[in-house]
């Protein structure tokens, strides 16, 4: 594998507008229930001051994808650029990947009885376009990046946020810029 693509999510910029979540659904006209990408609001108590802080998460295209490891039909493949692609034509709906992924990103589509997930819009990337979610992010909080040491050595780049499973499990290809809190003048 020559490189590993992934997401850089800037929680400082993310306002939880959920545009990415719906842009993903719009691009693929995903059914109501599955949420390939989802915006999560962090727990208030994880911060010194109450706040509305968010991160947006789709498939993390892990360096050690558990979905790929456990899948009995090889529905998952990892491309040279690190994208973990799920092929619904191979999927038999055994749901093992949904048990194995700590991020709950492969999700069963109960109508199709198959699993589906974010494929990082590889066809758009191959066309030189941004993934639909990144293209839709208005505050510029979501970026497509190459996950490498240079990125990890940058100050402020985090491997995880409070409330997320340990990255040791699957080595997810996502990095964060942590939420920053301003000063608050409160009445409680």
């Amino acid at each position: 594998m020559s490189k590993q693509l992934g997401f850089l999510h800037n929680s400082e910029k993310c306002v939880g507008c959920r545009g990415c979540e719906m842009a993903c659904k719009n691009e693929y006209q995903i059914d109501a229930a599955p949420q390939w990408r989802k915006v999560f609001q962090l727990h208030e108590e994880d911060f010194s001051l109450p706040t509305r802080m968010f991160f947006s998460m789709a498939c993390n295209h892990c360096a050690h994808p558990e979905c790929l490891r456990v899948c009995p039909v090889e529905a998952y493949t990892k491309r040279d650029d690190g994208i973990v692609v799920h092929d619904p034509n191979r999927c038999i709906g055994c749901r093992l990947c949904t048990m194995a992924c700590p991020y709950d990103r492969p999700q069963i589509n109960s109508a199709k009885k198959k699993v589906e997930k974010c494929n990082l819009c590889y066809q758009r990337i191959d066309n030189g376009e941004q993934p639909a979610c990144v293209a839709a992010c208005i505050p510029g909080a979501l970026e497509l990046v190459e996950i490498n040491d240079i990125l990890d050595q940058k100050t402020g780049v985090l491997k995880t946020l409070p409330g997320l499973p340990s990255p040791k499990l699957t080595t997810p290809s996502i990095r964060f810029i942590g939420p920053k809190q301003g000063k608050q003048i409160r009445r409680d």
Binding site: V15, G19, N26, Q29, P50, A136, I138, P139, I185, R187
Partner: protein
């Protein structure tokens, strides 16, 4: 399984002959079927330009992808310089709106109203029934005044003003006048500057200091964030003043949880400190305004920092800090949100904030401004709206002696409709409006609707208002219409093409007017002046005029099909110093206000007192997944946000024994709602918050508890005072 077509099809002739043998009702010979087309079942994808017509700051440019006549997906229009090729979560959900099986498909009649007994009727029958009712009322009462129109913001497309035109063309009618959303602030700016006119929001990047005052852009104006962020990257500080720690406030450098309705006191405290330190831009203020020194004297005499601090709950040092920063960071920009003026002193508070902007010389400056909204780009012909009343129409004699429509207050609709007696209101026409969900005092609305003889609603979904109607007419979505949309925030104008054919039997408001006109004139020639011809695109074309052409730098509306255009206006409003007040200056001392029974000066007016019985303020701001009663009913939204909640501070909740997820009854004299509790410290101890919305298959409606208390301003520019939505007081208990 795949059949070779040529084997059994001798071409069109064979098919035609077979058609003669079988009596088709729903199928017909297909003209397009040819051997070559047969190998290409799908057309290439076509794209169309649309503009989101919702009541929203952002009015996004959209690109719609259509294949085989079916809308496949939507994207932002990259040629739109403010929305920049991106949509919000609601915008991306549009395909679900168009193709939801829940859509209203045909004209339908309910007998009796509210029974749920609906029959499908033809357009002809619908128009016949409506026309006969109109003529009947006209005959019985000698005018069309018993017919009342309530239209507002469901679709802000210019051609949709054909709804008003429909009414004008049948005679003088009763009109719900006003705007529920923002009139107090509009009047405040009208008194001060002559009208509301904000800087180009893209100009926010030039601000060195940015105060968002009662404005939750993250939910209601998300496209402003790149500009705010750009300003911050250039070193600007972002201050958010809001009773609720919103998503926007969570991003601020400084968040101030002000006591609700005391924003004016905070601004006055700031003004006092600015005067004390002589950071006043005396030159600008004195050259451009009248009454400034009078106001300074008032402050020196009446306002102290201690008072302001006590009133607002904001520590003195913080008032001093923001006063210093706002006054000395030049330029500094303020964005006054619509939330903060929904109080009984809301307009007055905006006037104080306006004066603060004037005092610091931030008005008329790029990177500055006291920005509220504008209507500078709305100079269309309103061709569909302007129809003379039929000859001999009898109207309502207004206080000025002129005969015309009878205006009633949109913001106290239930009461005002019922209060009319000469003649009484007997029929309602509702379009782009859902008073059943959005008006105050839902119980009163229900009663008023029940007292009507006839109610017609034009809508796309079965909401509370449709539920209370006699006839519902299916409305097209904006993808099925031709239209043009301007924004009340940014300076862009875009054309809205018909991307797909109208689904089922839906019609646009102008098409409905045409049908009605045909019918009325057939029944009683000359009874309706609405033109009976013109394609939807022709109707659109008639909205343009040289002024709009010049503003957009185009010669023909068709040029807009290449992309939206930005009005050719300076980045800073009022930069020419030509204010539109009677005095042509900023009127810090405003005689018009005084004439209207308001203080002439932007002085403090006390907020509404909390009633003893109902100690909790119930704020019901705009939701994230919906725009009023639009969007939240769609499947994607119901998955992402399945149920309403009420946000309660944990300490307050503990007092009432409420824990996370408990059902809570929120009530006052007017009514009650029961809703799930979410405990959060984003609100304060005496404020509970629930976001207004219409959820599918739910009767949740915050307005059951909301009294129609007017805000202090609105009459001057919008015809009626606004609504003090956020001065709603309740009690809670565990349900």
């Amino acid at each position: 399984m795949k059949l070779s077509r040529r084997k059994f099809l001798g071409g069109a002739v064979a098919a035609a002959s077979s058609i003669t043998l079988f009596n088709f009702n729903l199928l017909t010979g297909s003209p397009s079927a040819s051997a070559s087309a047969a190998d290409q079942p799908s057309e290439a994808i076509k794209t169309f330009r649309n503009v989101c017509p919702r009541n929203c700051y952002d009015t996004c440019g959209m690109i719609t992808y259509v294949q085989d006549g079916i809308l496949k997906k939507v994207e932002g229009d990259p040629k739109h310089g403010y929305t920049n090729g991106k949509l919000c979560l609601k915008g991306y959900a549009y395909p679900r709106r168009v193709y939801s099986p829940d859509r209203i498909k045909y004209p339908m009649k309910q007998t009796p109203r509210g029974s749920g007994n609906w029959t499908r009727i033809s357009w002809d029958e619908a128009m016949d029934t409506i026309a006969k009712k109109i003529l009947d009322l006209k005959q019985r009462y000698g005018s069309t005044l018993p017919i009342c129109l309530d239209k507002y913001s469901g679709n802000f497309g210019i051609v949709h003003y054909g709804i008003e035109g429909t009414m004008s063309s049948i005679g003088y009618t009763t009109r719900a006048v006003g705007t529920p959303c923002w009139p107090a602030g509009i009047d405040a700016q009208t008194y001060d500057f002559g009208t509301l006119y904000s800087n180009d929001p893209e100009d926010m990047v030039n601000a060195k200091y940015l105060i968002l005052w009662g404005q939750n852009a993250a939910w209601t104006a998300i496209h402003s964030f790149p500009f705010i962020n750009k300003a911050r990257e250039r070193g600007a500080k972002l201050v958010v003043i809001d009773p609720i720690l919103t998503s926007t406030a969570s991003k601020a450098d400084l968040y101030i949880q002000v006591n609700p309705s005391t924003d004016g006191a905070l601004a006055l405290g700031m003004a006092r400190y600015i005067i004390d330190n002589n950071w006043v831009d005396w030159e600008y203020a004195r050259a451009n305004s009248i009454g400034f020194d009078e106001w300074v004297d008032y402050i020196k005499k009446e306002v102290t920092l201690d008072w302001a601090s006590e009133k607002t709950g904001v520590p003195k040092d913080i008032i001093m800090e923001i006063a210093r920063e706002y006054a000395t960071a030049k330029p500094a920009s303020m964005w006054v949100g619509y939330g903060m003026q929904r109080h009984t002193n809301g307009g007055q508070n905006v006037r104080i904030i306006d004066a603060l902007g004037v005092m610091t010389g931030n008005v008329g400056k790029s990177g500055g401004g006291v920005n509220y909204g504008h209507l500078e780009t709305w100079g269309f012909n309103y061709n569909a709206m302007v129809n003379a009343a039929p000859k001999g129409s009898k109207g309502f004699i207004g206080p000025d002696g002129k005969e015309g429509d009878r205006a009633i207050n949109m913001n106290n609709f239930a009461h005002d409709v019922s209060a009319q007696s000469d003649p009484p209101v007997k029929m309602l026409w509702l379009a782009c409006r859902n008073p059943g969900a959005q008006d105050p005092d839902t119980n009163a609305i229900e009663k008023m609707f029940a007292s009507m003889e006839f109610v017609v609603t034009v809508d796309s979904f079965f909401n509370k208002t449709v539920e209370m109607s006699d006839i519902v007419l299916p409305a097209t979505t904006h993808f099925e219409d031709w239209d043009v949309m301007a924004s009340y925030w940014h300076y862009w104008i875009g054309i809205n093409e018909r991307a797909i054919d109208p689904l089922y039997e839906s019609k646009s408001d102008v098409e409905i007017a045409i049908e009605l006109s045909k019918k009325l004139n057939a029944l009683e020639p000359g009874s309706c002046t609405f033109p009976t011809s013109g394609t939807p695109e022709e109707w659109l074309a008639k909205e343009f005029n040289p002024g709009i052409h010049q503003m957009l730098g185009i010669e023909d509306y068709k040029e807009l099909m290449d992309g939206p255009r930005k009005a050719n206006m300076p980045a800073a409003s009022w930069s020419d110093g030509k204010f539109r007040t009677p005095s042509k200056k900023i009127e810090i001392h405003c005689e018009l206000a005084e004439k209207n029974g308001l203080p002439a000066l932007p002085i403090w007016v006390d907020e509404m007192k909390t009633p003893e019985k109902y100690p909790l303020r119930f704020m019901t701001p705009h939701p994230q997944h919906a725009l009023h009663s639009q969007f939240q009913n769609l499947d994607w939204m119901m998955t992402a946000n399945p149920e309403p909640k009420v946000e309660i501070h944990p300490v307050l909740a503990a007092k009432y024994g409420i824990t996370e997820g408990n059902m809570v009854k929120v009530y006052n004299d007017l009514g009650s709602i029961t809703v799930k509790a979410h405990l959060t410290r984003t609100t304060s101890l005496n404020v509970i918050v629930s976001y207004e919305s219409w959820y599918k298959n739910s009767n949740f409606n915050v307005n059951y508890t909301l009294k129609a208390i007017p805000s202090d301003m609105g009459k001057q520019a919008t015809g009626n005072d606004g609504l003090a939505f956020h001065d709603n007081f309740v009690m809670i208990e565990k349900a």
